[in-house]
């Protein structure tokens, strides 16, 4: 089969189907609602939202495939003739991806995020990007190890340099600079992957697909391990504060969110990443020796979770 935009967007739609079914089974109660939307300038998306489930409080699994004139910030990067004053037609772009954020009901189940995306322009430029990262309200060492080991396996199958490189990229990307805290325990993050690292585009595409395919089994396993744990009112309060940090990251730093809001993207799809509730306490201090303190101490870059 030829590898083109149609192949890739079909594959992503199938992935969305597969992930939604897996999450519905893991939740055991809620079903996804679907909304199809059309982008005025070209393309559209299939937004699927799940809420008020037994396990999942609020989550989205979003597919989109949009096209049109490349936005200025990309155009400028590709425009080599500005110095001579020539005006070229803006290149056309096509972008497709699946984005996921799941906020669970229980503070014992971690928040998860995944995004994989493909981008191309009509001058032949194309690349792949993606990432998965985990934000436990309470870090459980064995779960963190499991999560990173699974991602490492996916990477190692394709290229031994990928896990260390993309794990560091995630540590740097999912960082709340003003708090000097990572958002969670990281994961992997990569962007603008085409050829390179001794890999053809097709080989990188195979890696990229494996990242997307790994999501459902990793997260449903983390749900299975944690969903029946008991928790207290204090645990729920802490969950609210950690969700507050998640909101801070997404609104202040996340490039996809910023880009979407600045370019008149579909607000409800962009901000589906925000939790149903979040909280802020002035100068909240964790109690010495508490589980909250243990987690906070682990929200650092460059930790080896494996």
């Amino acid at each position: 089969m030829e590898i083109n935009r149609d192949h890739i967007s079909s594959w992503l739609k199938n992935l969305q189907d597969h992930i939604c079914s897996s999450l519905e089974i893991a939740d055991g109660s809620a079903k996804f609602e679907e909304e199809n939307w059309v982008r005025e300038e070209g393309g559209g998306g299939r937004t699927r939202i799940i809420r008020n489930g037994k396990v999942i409080e609020k989550g989205g699994v979003l597919f989109s495939a949009v096209e049109g004139e490349a936005p200025d910030f990309l155009f400028k990067e590709k425009e080599h003739s500005t110095a001579t004053g020539d005006k070229k037609a803006k290149p056309l772009f096509f972008a497709t991806g699946v984005s996921i954020v799941i906020h669970p009901q229980s503070p014992m189940v971690p928040i998860i995020h995944m995004n994989i995306r493909y981008f191309e322009m009509n001058d032949g430029t194309r690349w792949l990007g993606g990432g998965i990262d985990l934000t436990p309200h309470y870090i459980v060492a064995e779960d963190a190890k499991f999560f990173h080991l699974e991602l490492k396996k996916v990477c190692d199958k394709h290229n031994a340099s990928y896990y260390p490189k993309f794990k560091k990229w995630a540590d740097d990307y999912f960082y709340i600079n003003h708090r000097k805290e990572t958002r969670g325990i990281g994961g992997i993050f990569f962007d603008r992957l085409n050829t390179g690292n001794d890999m053809s585009f097709e080989q990188n595409l195979a890696f990229w697909k494996d990242v997307g395919s790994a999501f459902a089994s990793i997260y449903t396993e983390l749900i299975r391990r944690n969903k029946d744990k008991t928790f207290t009112e204090q645990n729920k309060q802490w969950q609210l504060l950690r969700r507050g940090r998640y909101v801070e990251f997404n609104l202040v730093y996340d490039k996809g969110t910023k880009f979407g809001l600045e370019t008149n993207g579909r607000v409800e799809s962009i901000l589906m990443s925000l939790p149903k509730t979040a909280g802020w306490e002035y100068d909240y201090k964790v109690t010495s020796g508490s589980e909250e303190e243990k987690t906070l101490k682990l929200l650092k870059k460059d930790l080896n979770w494996i």
Copy 2:
């Protein structure tokens, strides 16, 4: 008395005292906690936080007076010799102000924000800035009229052009562009006021002081009018969503917040503006004919509230 930085910062500290006393009386239960902090590069602040009161759920009245080398963004504006390659010493700056955000318990009582600030550099540049804006969860026409009339009176006492000009500035500033909604019913906003509008710096300072002095009586009156109104669970849910929008404005657009986070400001003081809890629902639709719909329809620029 000579008008200098010491005069202005002393006046602001007295204002902080006066406002805190008024708010404690209006609350009837909670007291402000005070925290003094020192800025490594020069100056510091007196942060006062009130929480879990009868009327006020979370609020801050912050005084600060900081000084040092002017940050780059100001330095560049003042630097006229870059083209010749000369290196001048960075100018020194001094900035002092009072900032307030109050989130009430009841959805029937509006959120309020005020900031007044004074800035100077050692080359003689100095200016005044400020604003007050109101964010009712439910807009009450008489309260909106009262609020804007009181601000108009303060403005008109000094300059007839100020209310229309600064009211429009507030509409434009307190705007959530991605939602195409104003944050609330606006108020007044102004920046970089020194001389001009046929006013001396001293005359503008007198206006600026009157803005600060008007805050306590305006807000305590709005508390008095609304604090005993009954409300439902639905009203509380709507309050959470409106607070979500408040968080979106502050983290995505507010210049003070962005500047503070980017320049390594004191995070807990900067983010005291965030509510104790906030919420997001995917694609929330107000019910036709509801109070929520009436409020949403009024979150527009350029309405005449008087």
